[in-house]
């Protein structure tokens, strides 16, 4: 179900058709219902936020999108066709990249190698060629290194490219993780709390990078975030979840004035 209409954002960016659509997703763990009958879409080129109080099911939703959880009910439509149940690595190969709430970098490797792992899905040389470091394998290493260096330049982490990741401070680790996800040249980029635990300056940097990624590469971004100021400034449309249900969906302004959302966040007198 390819919808080509799209819409124009407040700052004048043209948003395209539907890239991914969640249809009546329900996710149960035994008796616990983490997500209950939620539908929403993500359009090409937009920044889509998922917000909600703690335990609302936001991360579970992201895990459904990235294929880590298979929904108990409902369908995921991607690029105009229904996505069959598949392993997370297969979903990643379809162009879905993500970062993690608790940094999940490969601590024993350098920054450069970490970002290079993001290119794995683009490298196809056989074991023989790799063992000889010859032909396709060597060309691929050099070609992908060039791509990786573009990302490293873009995120301004040139100075640390050969540092082991384990020695880096928190804010930089978050940025390296973003670099790894970006290196895959994803169609859709999922960010799980990209600002968690950052100070104001680091948040500003990260916001700038997210906007630049969207602007320069045209990458579609779906993000979860707790910092309301950041979410309202960055995103084009927002989904609000509470107790596993969708209670709001729309532009930041619409969501801000939605009575259900205000009740969920501020509480309501009974």
């Amino acid at each position: 179900m390819k919808d080509t209409e799209g819409y124009m954002t407040a700052d004048g960016r043209q948003i395209g058709g539907v890239l991914m659509e969640m249809k009546n997703i329900t996710l149960r763990f035994g008796g616990v219902v983490a997500i209950q009958d939620i539908s929403f879409d993500i359009r090409e080129g937009e920044i889509r936020a998922i917000i909600g109080p703690n335990g609302a099911g936001k991360s579970s939703m992201l895990n459904v999108i990235s294929g880590f959880y298979t929904p108990s009910e409902g369908e995921v439509w991607y690029k105009g066709s229904k996505r069959p149940p598949m392993k997370p690595f297969e979903v990643a190969r379809l162009g879905v990249a993500r970062t993690f709430q608790n940094i999940a970098l490969f601590e024993g490797m350098s920054v450069l190698d970490n970002v290079m792992t993001g290119r794995l899905t683009h490298m196809h040389a056989g074991i023989g060629a790799q063992a000889l470091w010859w032909g396709k394998a060597r060309d691929e290493e050099i070609e992908n290194r060039r791509k990786v260096e573009e990302v490293i330049d873009f995120l301004e982490i040139q100075a640390i490219r050969k540092t082991p990741v384990g020695n880096l401070p928190y804010g930089l680790k978050k940025r390296v993780e973003l670099a790894r996800a970006l290196a895959a040249e994803p169609s859709i980029l999922l960010l799980d709390e990209p600002m968690a635990g950052m100070n104001v300056e680091e948040k500003e940097d990260m916001s700038r990078f997210i906007l630049d990624v969207n602007d320069e590469f045209g990458t579609t971004i779906a993000l979860i975030e707790h910092d309301m100021g950041v979410v309202m400034d960055l995103s084009d449309r927002v989904v609000v979840m509470d107790y596993g249900k969708k209670i709001g969906d729309g532009t930041p302004d619409e969501v801000r004035n939605n009575q259900d959302v205000i009740d969920a966040y501020l509480g309501v007198a009974h």
């Binding site: 997370p88 690595f89 999940a104 024993g108 792992t117 794995l120 040389a125 790799q130």
Partner: protein
């Protein structure tokens, strides 16, 4: 001063990704290669070949195989000895069934059998990890050694139950068996070890190496960025077991000359594991450093008291050896978990800036 890297600029990714981006490393390796290929064979005595040179190379190779699996791909294994045995028995069967076969080809092919069996015993790694996987590979260790004992076809129904290496000829000289000269055996081992080390270095610094290290460091993240964990783990088992199998074939054909099943029992697995740990997990060079230490230590301990004129009996030497190796392992686990290879890396970093403090 000698290790100054200033002035060595890289202008392309190709040169930056070269094997030795620093010129001094290449020179150092060239010196080492000249020693092992030319100077050692010319000067070494029969004793040095049999007690140090050949076993160091063979154990370094076995440890490299284990290191691919444990150090790079993060899958613990205690079955190294048995997989060496698979390589040795496969080589023995090939040589006796097809005597026309080139011995070096037979040795290189014997790894294929251990790779296949390694993959089969690697299947549990898809579901379990860490110590539990180690126990699963222990099952391989016991089962395979039992098989070597009970399946008489493997040792051609010998009454002794052991495999005996026949005299093997290549280009008119004996390269294996009772009549082969030590220097020939040394060159065969050196050729195989050099070849496999080169391939391993390339594999571990390329895409497959990154796949393995990602699997080792955080498997969930690895899967979510597009790594097929099953493929990653099973290729690690296959390549690791291949190398270990070739090391096993060399162990019997180029060094021991004969082997009973219990040679491949668990002490051999542990010896290789100690070399990998002391040398440094996740390093190729560490295997050689570890092998030099573990193989060389007993030899030095045997010779040293004689040179110093201290009377000491051989049982005492053996006990001393066990005590020293044991304390070395504890020392390394506490002080430097990344082993000798890491120590060398630290020394190298210091040398690069020496004589300035930073």
């Amino acid at each position: 001063m000698l290790y100054r890297t200033a002035g060595q600029f890289k202008t392309s990714y190709k040169t930056d990704q070269a094997l030795f981006p620093i010129r001094q490393d290449a020179i150092l390796l060239a010196i080492i290669l000249v020693f092992v290929w030319v100077i050692f064979p010319l000067t070494a005595s029969e004793f040095t070949f049999q007690a140090i040179l050949i076993p160091v190379l063979i154990f370094a190779l076995a440890s490299m195989g284990l290191n691919i699996l444990t150090g790079f791909a993060g899958q613990l294994s205690l079955g190294t000895g048995a997989f060496m045995g698979v390589g040795a028995y496969a080589c023995y069967k090939m040589i006796t069934l097809m005597p026309w076969m080139n011995p070096i080809v037979a040795i290189l092919l014997s790894g294929v059998f251990s790779a296949g069996i390694g993959v089969v015993f690697g299947i549990p790694s898809l579901r379990i990890k860490g110590f539990y996987l180690a126990i699963a590979t222990l099952a391989a260790q016991f089962f395979l050694v039992w098989l070597f004992e009970k399946w008489a076809w493997l040792y051609n129904y010998n009454s002794s139950g052991a495999i005996q290496v026949p005299n093997l000829e290549m280009f008119g000289t004996y390269i294996s068996g009772p009549q082969a000269a030590s220097v020939t055996e040394y060159y065969v081992v050196l050729f195989v070890v050099t070849l496999l080390t080169m391939l391993c270095i390339n594999l571990t610094r390329g895409n497959l190496g990154r796949t393995w290290k990602a699997t080792r460091d955080m498997d969930i993240a690895a899967e979510l960025i597009g790594i097929n964990l099953m493929k990653s783990k099973l290729t690690a088992f296959a390549i690791s077991s291949y190398i270990v199998g070739v090391a096993g074939a060399l162990y019997v054909f180029m060094w021991k000359g004969a082997a009973e099943p219990n040679v491949f029992d668990i002490p051999l697995s542990f010896q290789v594991l100690f070399i990998a740990i002391i040398g440094g997990l996740g390093s190729i060079m560490g295997n050689f450093l570890g092998a030099i230490l573990i193989v060389g230590l007993p030899v030095v301990l045997n010779l040293l008291p004689n040179l110093l004129g201290i009377p000491i009996d051989s049982a005492m030497v053996e006990h001393l050896n066990i005590m020293i190796v044991g304390s070395l392992i504890i020392f390394f686990l506490i002080i430097e978990p990344h082993g000798l290879a890491r120590l060398w890396a630290l020394i190298r970093e210091k040398l690069i800036i020496w004589p300035f403090p930073h």
